[in-house]
Amino acid sequence: MTLITFAPTQVLAGLSAAEGNGFHPPTLSEFFPGQLFGAGTWWGPSRINLIGLLMAGLLALFFVSAFRKPGVVPGRLQMLGEMGVTFVRSQIIDEVIGKQGRRFLPYLVTLFFMVFVLNIAGVLPTLNMAGTAVIGVPMFLAGVSWLVFNVVGVQTHGLGGYLRNNLFPPGVPKPLYLLLTPIEAISTFVLRPVTLTIRLMANMMAGHLMLVLFFAASSYLLFEAQPALKPLGVAAVAMGFAFTLFEILVAGLQAYIFTLLTALYIGGAMSEAH
């Protein structure tokens, strides 16, 4: 039922973008809207920043209300909150790190729901933009995850031990270390946060571009093109619906993957039993 309200919003957005003269496909300028106020300053927010702030505020509001007065018999909000926390704890932490990973539950729950809520803003009516579709938020979250797994590794093994575990694979003739250690250094310390960032951002950016394309195409085909193309417009709307469902799936999946990989890196840094 709510999906029926999504499409008209997207179509209307496509209409205003099209302006009645030719088809305007989405471009990368989608992701660089102007600052809404404080133009020219470093803090002036764009539409995307405000969406991120709004979704983060809603998320905080939800969790604070859910756990404000916890009872042994939970109310509905508390039960929802508990389901969320239990999902991360049993499906991600216990599976990947084990019981000693429980101390990372606050960070991983926050990470999962932050990414999920920002991603889902990409399909919400009137927002239509994922907070994670621009590189700042994924980069920051990946940076924090990088800090966490490195600090955990150094705490568990000491700086020398941690570096030795990661940079020097055992059982290799000594001169080869000169060639192998740079590869290991890059793959552990550079590639992990980079792939976390790019995976999340690219998925959300591509999904947004596809959604705008489908709905701009449907508004153009339905309202401005030759009448013979109208059935194509209907097909474009149907594809838009289907892709919206797919984007909801991708939003959850990308949140899960980001959190799972962070947990894997943390678990790997803690154990290192190579």
Binding site: V96, G98, L176, I183, E184, S187, L191, L261, L264, G268
Partner: protein, 72 residues
């Protein structure tokens, strides 16, 4: 019995972590040595060192994967 199935599940997920580490290594090797080859090419004016660097990097990555995960 619960502990055993927990351990088994963790073994499988550590298999996941192996996949991502292997993937990271296999990307990092050719990328790094391709870049080194590119630097050599720019300095020497040739154009042959980029592919040589990529192949050498890939071979080294395969060696790392074998050393870390192949020998048990």
């Amino acid at each position: 019995m619960n502990e055993e199935s927990d351990e088994a599940a963790r073994e499988i997920s550590r298999g996941d972590s192996v996949v991502f580490s292997v993937m990271g290594t296999l990307i990092a090797g050719p990328a790094l040595y391709g870049l080194v080859g590119f630097g050599v090419d720019t300095l020497a004016g040739t154009s042959v060192f980029v592919p040589i660097g990529i192949v050498v990097g890939f071979a080294l990555s395969l060696y790392i994967v074998y050393v870390r995960y192949g020998r048990d």
